[in-house]
Amino acid sequence: MKFLRIKAIAKKELIQIWRDPFSLAMVFVMPVMLLFIFGYAITLDVNNLTTIVYDLDRSSSSRELVAKFSESGYFTIIEHIDDDKDIDKYLDSGKARIAIAIPADFSKNITTGKNPQLQVIIDGSDSNTATIAMGYISAISELYSQRLKGIKITPVIDPRVRVWYNPELKSRNFIIPGLIAVIMAIIAALLTSLTFAREWERGTMEQLISTPVKGPELITGKLIPYFLIGFIDMAVAVLIGTIIFDVPLRGNIFLLMAVSSVFLFGGLSLGILISIVAKSQLVASQMSMVITFLPSFLLSGFMYPIANMPAILQIITHVIPARYFVAILKGIFLKGSILKLLAMDVLLLLIFGLIVFTVANRKFKKRVI
């Protein structure tokens, strides 16, 4: 590997990106756009959850609690039911996604200072929404309890849900870190997926492979500018996440960026590999979307918890780098995880990157066909 060649290639690539409005837009506008679209779309999706109420207590306390739920805007009470069999009917048919059952001794427990129970049944088919809904329920119950404290008794409502690591109970806190990981997985591969294909299509590759340049020099030279860009994208995404979506960053920002570099190395190398194999820009961009988009969204644990997936899908998730990155970003953002806790995930990302980089080097041939 010769420094002079790598430098020449990196510089050329950077000039080309800089001069092409389309690639500039793809590089800098697309990640931001995706973050806003999905950041809001997925967040808003959790509003107006259809809810039924089964109130056995029928006291002013229970009515007050129900009112808190509907005032929050997250829950739309569509029905008060009198028969517990109706709960299944509503949930099974999908007419309601949540049922709140208030036991007959609810207000009595409050007055006697015992912990009153609140039973909540959630349609778990969309576990992401379910998790977020549980968060809201827990928050509203908490608020209600605090209000009771202001009077004189201090019972705690136990809705049998605990939402860890997200005490503010904002769904975005959950979504954004995972969303950043998923978007970066898609963007990284897309960024580099055109570089080799473009040169084959334009005929410039034929000139390039007639020179003494080595495959690894070419691949490294092409990786460098996209690495810088990926790094900037990542920083912008983190800024938008913390400032605009107001997600707390509990962990260390330097750790976050260092780990992101490891991830970028793998993601960008994957794009290079796709570009080398595809040889045409259209095929390459489609391949990179197919390989990264749905798997990153669906199988990374971002939308659906991996533990709830069928066994075969659980196995597949292991080869999806976004899986590790989602876990890492959630960890650093929400738990303030330190490297020691993330070491395994980071190591696996590194291994993924090294494998893909090696395969890309082996697949690249300095031959016209």
Partner: protein
């Protein structure tokens, strides 16, 4: 055996694409410092051959060396010693003239102390001094071609391969380009150049004619004219060219159109001129001129292809 004054030598080289034989068992050798012309119509196998010589394509069979390196085993080594200009313009359209030169200097690892000098040399040679900051895309064809040549020889390779370097360029630029090739050859560079312009072949020291993947003739331009043309060529100037062609064809005389003139190949000019005149004038076609000429390479080529 590889002789010291030979730059390129291949033997029995073939290349198939599936069942199709694009290059069929060709052998050729190029001396150091000469301009070797590789002539043939479109699809004859010129680019395929040149790619095999530059280490870009593996021959299906055959052997050879370029600049002392084996074309089968050492094809990566070859790349240090050659400059290659592909048929399709293959510099970066979206880079400026200087940026392109700068990029290829880096790729060829032109030493720092030489880099500036080489850059100026290319700009001068290509006549691009004033347009050094122009985006390559907007340059006229002739400039692009000279810039591409410059970028391919930044590292001063002893052998250069040019694949139809002048196709699609205006005649003045073509002449300028050939002057550059001629200058380089005088300084000792070996030039392997393909073309389908017959008149360009006259500039070459030696030629090989390739047709449907096979080499059908080889030698200096004069050799070709003498050895391969046992028959005479007549140039005929008539007022109704197409009719004249038809009537001669019916009388068993093949002709080809050269500009507004007809060329006919015959066994013996003196004997046949009166007969041809009679046939044409019998149809009231005015014959302004009919005479024996020295055959051009194109005549040679047309004749050879008829035989092949």
């Amino acid at each position: 055996m590889k002789a010291n004054n030979i730059a390129v030598k291949v033997e029995g080289v073939s290349r198939k694409f599936g069942d199709f034989v694009a290059v069929d068992n060709i052998s050729l050798s190029v001396n150091k410092g000469e301009i070797f012309g590789f002539l043939g119509p479109n699809g004859a196998g010129k680019s395929t051959t040149i790619r095999m010589l530059c280490g870009l394509l593996t021959p299906t069979s055959g052997s050879g060396f370029v600049g002392g390196y084996d074309i089968i085993k050492e094809y990566e080594e070859i790349k240090k010693d050659i400059g290659y200009m592909s048929q399709k313009f293959s510099l970066y359209d979206d880079l400026t003239v200087e940026e392109n030169i700068d990029f290829f200097s880096g790729v060829y690892r032109v030493p720092k102390e030489k880099k500036k000098k080489r850059m100026e040399w290319v700009l001068e040679m290509a006549g691009l001094n004033e347009r050094r900051n122009a985006i390559t895309k907007i340059l006229p064809g002739g400039f692009k071609q000279r810039l591409a040549l410059g970028c391919a020889i930044l590292h001063e390779p002893p052998i250069i391969f040019l694949d139809e370097p002048t196709s699609g360029v205006d005649p003045i630029s073509r002449r300028n380009f050939w002057k550059l090739i001629y200058d380089m050859s005088r300084e000792g560079t070996t030039v392997f150049v393909t073309t389908h312009y017959m008149e360009e072949a006259e500039y070459c020291d030696r030629l090989a004619l390739i047709y449907r993947g096979k080499i059908i003739a080889e030698g200096t331009p004069n050799d070709l004219k003498q050895n391969y043309m046992s028959r005479d060529v007549l140039e005929i100037d008539v007022d109704r060219v197409v009719e004249a062609m038809e009537v001669l064809y019916r009388n068993g005389i093949e002709t080809a159109i050269f500009g507004s003139l007809l060329h006919a190949t015959v066994e013996n000019a003196e004997q046949e001129i009166p007969g041809i005149k009679r046939i044409l004038e019998g149809l009231n076609i005015t014959v302004n001129k009919i005479e024996k000429i020295i055959p051009s390479l194109e005549d040679v080529f047309v004749t050879l292809i008829e035989v092949a």
